[in-house]
Every structure is written in C-alpha cells, then in structure tokens.
C-alpha cells in the first residue's frame, strides 16, 4: 500500500538518497554563513541558498525520472 512497489524500487532505490542532499546543504548553516565570496553583489549567504532552489528541483527531477510511476 505504500506505493514503493519492490519491483520498481530495486532498480533505483538508491536514488531516494538524492532527496536528502538539500537537507544537508541547507541545514548545516556554517557551510554558507559568510559574506564572501560575493556573486553579482549578493553575499554568499544569499546566493548559496537561492542556488539550492534549482539544485533541489534538479535532484528531485532525477529521482522522478529514475523511478517509474503508474499513478
């Protein structure tokens, strides 16, 4: 009932771990709590977090593409 059909899952279950990467990248604040280097005038703190928007979407898309879904 949980939607993780084992037949499907066996081929790409490692893909699910990609979804954890944004949590690591964003929840460990010392990674990015700096002003330098700046990008287009944005301190690191801001452009780093904004950059995670497309990265996170891309990772999710990779998981989506890698797993078959029937619903």
């Amino acid at each position: 009932m949980n939607g993780h059909d084992p037949k499907r899952r066996s081929s790409g279950s490692w893909l699910w771990f990609l979804l954890l990467i944004p949590y690591i990248g964003l929840l460990w604040v010392p990674f990015y709590n700096h002003v330098e280097p700046k990008l287009f005038g944005f301190p690191l703190f801001y452009w780093y977090q904004l950059m995670w928007v497309p990265i996170s979407a891309l990772l999710t898309w990779l998981v989506y593409r890698g797993l078959g879904h029937d619903d």
């Binding site: 949980n2 949590y23 964003l26 929840l27 709590n33 002003v35 005038g41 497309p54």
Partner: protein, 493 residues
C-alpha cells in the same frame, strides 16, 4: 497617508471586481453534474492536473501574509528572516516522497481530510478527533493573518476604517460558498501571475534605482551595525534556531488543511510529483521577495509597523498605477489562501465531527451543505478575531498553530510507511507534544524558540520541532509499554 490617490484605488478596485466575477463564474468551470458533494465543492472534483495544482498550491502556500511578513522580518532583523527560503526548498523533497502515497490512500478510499486518513488507517475515533480539532484550530489564526495582509494593503491605499476589509471578506465568503474550491483555483491564476509580474518588476527596477544589489546589501549591513542588532549573516547563536525553524516549518507545512486540500484535489500522484519539482519556482520568487526588506532599508524608509515596509516600498519606488497593481496582487493573494483554508477547515468539521458524531447517515448533498455553512462561519470567526482582538493575538496563535499542526504528523504520516504504531500510542504522543509544546512556548513568552539545557551545554531550537520530538518519543514508549490488544485496532489494509 491622509489623502487618497485615486489611481491605485481604481486599479485595485478593477482587479478585485475581476476576481469577484471569476469567483462566482468558477462554479461553472469544468462543469460538474452537481456541486453538492464534498468531492466537488471541497476538492474541485479531485481532477486538478499539474498546472492547476501548481497555481492553486502556489497561491495557497505562498500567502499574502508571506509577501508582507517575510520582508518585514528581513527588514527588522536581517539574515534570520531568510529562514523562509531553506524552509520552502526542503519542503519539496518531503512532498515528493510522502504526498503521492497519501494522495493514493485518499483517492482510493474517498478520504477528503487528514483526519479521514487517520480514521481509515486506525479506526480509532479519539485520534481522528484530535487530528481534526488540531487542523481547525491551527487554521483559524492562519486565516486571520491573511486579513492582516489585506489590511496592510487597504491602509496603503489610504482607506480608513474596517468597512473595506469587511466588504472584501464578505464577497470572498459568498463566492467560496457558491463555488467551493473551484473559486480559489481559478483566482489563483490571476493572483500568481500578478505576483510574478510585481516581483520581477521589483527586482529589476529597484536595484537600478538604489545602486545595485551590492549597494543594497551594503546599506543593510551598515544599518544593522548602526542599530547594534541583526545583520546580513547570522551570529553563531542563531545557527540552530535558523536551521530548526526551516526544518520544523517544512515538516508542518503540508500538515495544514489548506495545503492537504491542494494535495487531495490533485488528479494523480504524478501530478503531485511533478509539482514537487515545479513549485520551487515560487521559492525563488519568495527569496527575491524577502530581499524587498533590504531594499526598504536601502531606500531609507522608516515605517511605524514593520508590516508596512512592502506597501511603503511600492509606494515610494513604483509609479502610482503600478503600486496599485502591486497592492491588488497582495490583496488577491490573501483571498486565495483564505478561501482554501476555510474550505479545508470546513471539510474537517463536516467529515470528522458532523458525520462522525452528529449525523452519521448524512448523504453527499448534506455533507456539502454543512461544509458550505461551516466555511462561512470559519471566515466570520477569523474576521471577528481581527476586528475585535489585538493583532498580536492572531500572530501568537499562528505561532502556536504551527506547533500544534506539526503534532499531527506522526498520526497522519507514519501509518503510510509502517504498521508498528498503534492508535492509542499516537494519541498519547500527540497529547504530549501538543500540551508540553504549548506550555514551553507559553513560558517562553510566546517566542518560537526554546532553549534546551543539558548540563553545561545548551541549544536553542524551534519549539515546534522540540514538541515533535517529545511526541515521537512518547508514542514509541507508550507503544512499547502498553501491550497490544488481542484484537488489532487496525482494520484490514
């Protein structure tokens, strides 16, 4: 703001009239045979595809209050207010992994609310009631906050008194009553496009006027240094508060009735997965909206209430007709979530209180009628809260609401993945998280952060996350200690 500039007022009135017509016409959108069932009135027929869901959830999750309050917090304290950005990024991997499974259970068995799912999984009325009551009381102050967003716009237009707010809300209540979820779904298209236009214009025009982003950040940095508090990066003491607020808010976000209504109204699990990939576009927008707070500092604006910073910025930097357009975007941005929230709360009341306790034999049309009337009552309640109680009361309740709704996560989500927990243990966990969390927040003076001290070390975390940890620990302990009944409480899966 003593004199009224007619241009922004006319622009605002035009767009408000437009969405009012759309709200009523929505009843005939994707014509159902009848609106007289919860599935039709309260979930739009469970047929919203990728794009409609994108607009609806985007319009419903990124609320008018967000547009007002996030820049206000950034304006006041700086980097700390930016936690809304990591929050609205990490929420989507969670949505992607969990919500399609929840959708599937709900669609297969006709569930319309979180408490329906809990009842179906555990067949235990007390847990269902706990989840339903939590959903309703967490949503009420959230609706009230939308009114605060709307009130900020009305104030910026130069209108005084409470009549404009009451009129706007009564109209909203009427078309929600007649069209159900179709109304906010249709209006969300207008609202979201308007917000995108405003924000893109703001992030292009304002830096050009204010000397570029480098100058904006420098001005903010200088202002925080002069003030002696806040800053454009975080002090070490705020690392854990920042990260735990982001994580806790992300876990709470899709437990609310209004966000779950968007999930249940989707056509398929795939619709939700695609949206988990596409919805971050709004997060990018939110990050840019947050920076309006710094633009307010760079523009040298001083406001009486921090919540006035965004309207004041639009007024000072945009031509007056475009400021009117921007106000309209925010005002309409309050209507969509307020409508969906009242529908979500009404669905809960109808399914998990009225049908469960008052009239178990109610038919589909009867359910829709109860839900419609409840949606009216819920909105009137929120309006009365704003008109007669101090604003701070709504803000405090909203904070507690986030803590409360998070306590429904174990009951709603754990059962989708494993069968180990029994309902009484989950209820004990819910009660512990709810009561101890509320007590902690209360004794901390209704602040979102709680400091845990263990010997010489102490760590400050979002109180909702602490309460969730208590909830889970209690649920595990009770489940281990209390022997399983001989007859399983779980129905056949």
């Amino acid at each position: 703001m003593t004199e009224i500039d007619p241009v922004p007022l006319v622009v605002c009135a035009f767009f408000f009239a437009l969405v009012t017509v759309m709200g009523f016409v929505a009843a005939r959108w994707r014509v159902p045979k009848t609106l007289a069932s919860i599935d039709e009135w309260g979930l739009g027929g469970r047929q919203f595809g990728t794009w409609i869901t994108w607009f609806l959830v985007g319009g419903d999750f990124y609320t008018a209050y967000t547009v007002i309050a996030v820049p206000a917090l950034v304006y006041a304290v700086g980097a700390y207010g930016f936690f809304a950005l990591p929050y609205t990024i990490i929420v989507y991997p969670f949505v992607f992994a969990v919500m399609p499974i929840l959708w599937k259970v709900a669609a297969e068995r006709g569930y319309a609310t979180s408490a329906d799912v809990v009842h179906g999984t555990y067949n235990y009325r007390p847990l269902e009631l706990a989840v339903a009551v939590t959903g309703v009381i967490a949503t009420m102050p959230y609706i009230a906050l939308q009114l605060i967003g709307m009130a900020a716009v009305i104030k910026a237009l130069g209108l005084t008194g409470e009549i404009p707010l009451i009129i706007a809300f009564v109209i909203l209540a009427l078309y929600t009553y007649s069209s159900g979820l179709r109304a906010p779904a249709l209006i969300a298209f207008v609202k979201d496009i308007m917000i995108y236009i405003v924000v893109i214009a703001a992030v292009v025009i304002m830096p050009a006027k204010l000397g570029g982003y480098g100058a904006i950040f420098d001005a903010a940095d200088a202002a925080f240094k002069a003030k002696g508090s806040g800053g454009i990066i975080l002090p070490g003491s705020q690392f854990f508060p920042y990260a735990s607020l982001a994580l806790g808010s992300a876990l709470a976000a899709f437990m609310y009735p209004h966000t779950l209504t968007g999930i249940f109204a989707s056509r398929s699990g795939d619709t939700i997965r695609k949206n988990a990939i596409l919805l971050p576009a709004y997060t990018l927008l939110l990050g840019l909206i947050a920076l309006l707070g710094y633009m307010g500092i760079a523009a040298g604006l001083k406001v009486g209430s921090n919540n006035d910073i965004v309207p004041a910025l639009f007024k000072s930097q945009f031509p007056n007709w475009f400021a009117g357009f921007a106000y309209a975007a925010i005002g309409i941005g309050a209507l969509v979530p307020a409508a969906v929230m009242s529908i979500g709360a009404a669905n809960l009341f109808t399914r998990n209180f009225w049908k469960a306790y008052v009239n178990p034999n109610i038919d589909h049309a009867g359910e829709a009628q109860v839900a419609k009337i409840t949606s009216l009552i819920v909105k009137v309640g929120a309006l009365l809260v704003i008109l007669f109680l101090p604003t701070q009361f709504a803000l405090d309740l909203q904070l507690l609401g986030g803590l409360w709704i998070m306590q429904t996560l174990p009951a709603l989500i754990f059962g989708l993945f494993f069968n180990w927990f029994r309902a009484p243990a989950l209820l004990a966990g819910w009660a512990a998280g709810f009561l101890i969390g509320t007590w902690m927040a209360w004794t901390d003076g209704l602040k979102p952060l709680h400091t845990l001290t263990l010997g010489p070390t102490s760590v400050t975390l979002y109180v909702g996350l602490v309460a969730l940890a208590i909830n889970i620990v209690v649920a595990v302990l009770v489940n281990l200690v209390v022997p399983a009944p001989r007859v399983a409480t779980r129905p056949a899966q």
